[in-house]
């Protein structure tokens, strides 16, 4: 499988994994390993100084995984920019998964604030991976101002509903000149495979892996499904039809016409 290239950096895996919601650091580490992913997302939060605990992310081998900080919690462009700068100060690199979600209930992204933040961050030299609604026009505007990817949602985050936005994502893929990473809502390997089959460059999965009874095994399942979907996309799938067609010959039957 040819490599995924984001902002000039090459990756063998087309599956990005979020680190939230795992029952323990150990379970998370096993799942990340099984997923074969090379990019993992993390959030930035205040240290709880009242009861200081060990850094739960020390389980992540930063030589093996690219840490991709998100701006979760930001409700405006301003908050997202501030979080991005703090994240950059904390990591060697300047990549950021841009999330601006004013709505605390469905955690859906704000198109206007996301675009505004992206413009500022790109100017400041960030590699910006914006999380957006499946909005082809917004996706085009973001790639035009220089984001490294676009990350349209398949369905609201954490719902496991799958690729509800397929029709719009097909348009986004058709118009994209940066990698399209389907983020949020992919609940099953078949959802991830479907996203890759229609030409998505990669997918990001968190809840579906972290909340499975066996996260490591589910991570493996998503790994295989993403590869399957990509191979299918390149293999040139035959189109579907309404009329049936035999897979066995329609001649040479044991009867005389």
């Amino acid at each position: 499988m040819e490599k995924l290239i984001i902002a000039g950096k090459e990756f063998n895996s087309r599956l990005l994994v979020g680190t939230g919601k795992f029952s323990s650091s150990a379970v998370m580490a096993q799942a990340l390993d099984a997923s074969g992913c090379e990019i993992v997302t993390v959030a930035l939060r205040r240290v709880d100084i009242e009861n200081e605990n060990d850094d739960t992310l020390s389980a992540i081998d930063r030589k093996k995984y690219l840490l991709l900080p998100n701006t979760s919690g930001a409700r405006s462009a301003e908050e997202a920019v501030r979080l991005s700068r703090l994240a950059r100060a904390a990591t060697s690199i300047n990549w950021v998964k841009l999330e601006v979600t004013p709505d605390p209930y469905y955690l859906l992204p704000d198109p206007v604030e996301t675009l505004k933040a992206a413009e500022i961050l790109v100017k400041e030299g960030f590699v910006v991976l914006p999380y957006i609604n499946a909005d082809p026009i917004l996706a085009k505007r973001l790639q035009d101002i220089g984001t490294a990817t676009v990350m349209p949602l398949g369905s609201p985050i954490g719902t496991n509903q799958g690729l509800k936005t397929r029709a719009a994502i097909e348009i986004i893929i058709e118009q994209a000149n940066v990698p399209v990473v389907v983020d949020a809502g992919l609940g099953l390997p078949s959802h991830a495979a479907e996203a890759m089959e229609i030409g998505a460059d990669a997918v990001l999965v968190n809840t579906a892996i972290a909340t499975a009874d066996n996260p490591a095994q589910m991570a493996k399942a998503f790994k295989l499904a993403v590869e399957a979907g990509r191979l299918s996309y390149q293999a040139g799938a035959a189109s579907s039809s309404k009329k049936a067609s035999a897979s066995s010959p329609l001649t040479g039957f044991l009867r005389d016409q």
């Binding site: 680190t19 939230g20 240290v47 100084i49 979760s72 703090l86 100060a89």
Partner: protein, 69 residues
């Protein structure tokens, strides 16, 4: 007494303490290498923690990476 607002809540310290940001982290048992600090909206690079003196009334944010999607 010396008052600092740390991560949103006020904290009292004996006069003259904590001297530096590094001292504060030690006092709070927070590993310096895992956190990022912001003082009154200004980001402080990790290598300047010990050189950064703290003064009465500053707003200090100590943040770190946590699991997230």
């Amino acid at each position: 007494m010396n008052t600092l607002k740390i991560n949103g809540s006020e904290r009292q310290f004996p006069d003259g303490t904590p001297g530096t940001l590094a001292d504060l982290l030690k006092k709070l048992n927070v590993k310096a290498e895992t956190v990022v600090a912001e003082i009154d909206g200004q980001i402080i690079e990790r290598d300047r923690f010990s050189a950064t003196k703290l003064t009465e009334g500053q707003k200090i944010e100590l943040v770190r990476f946590v699991p997230g999607g």
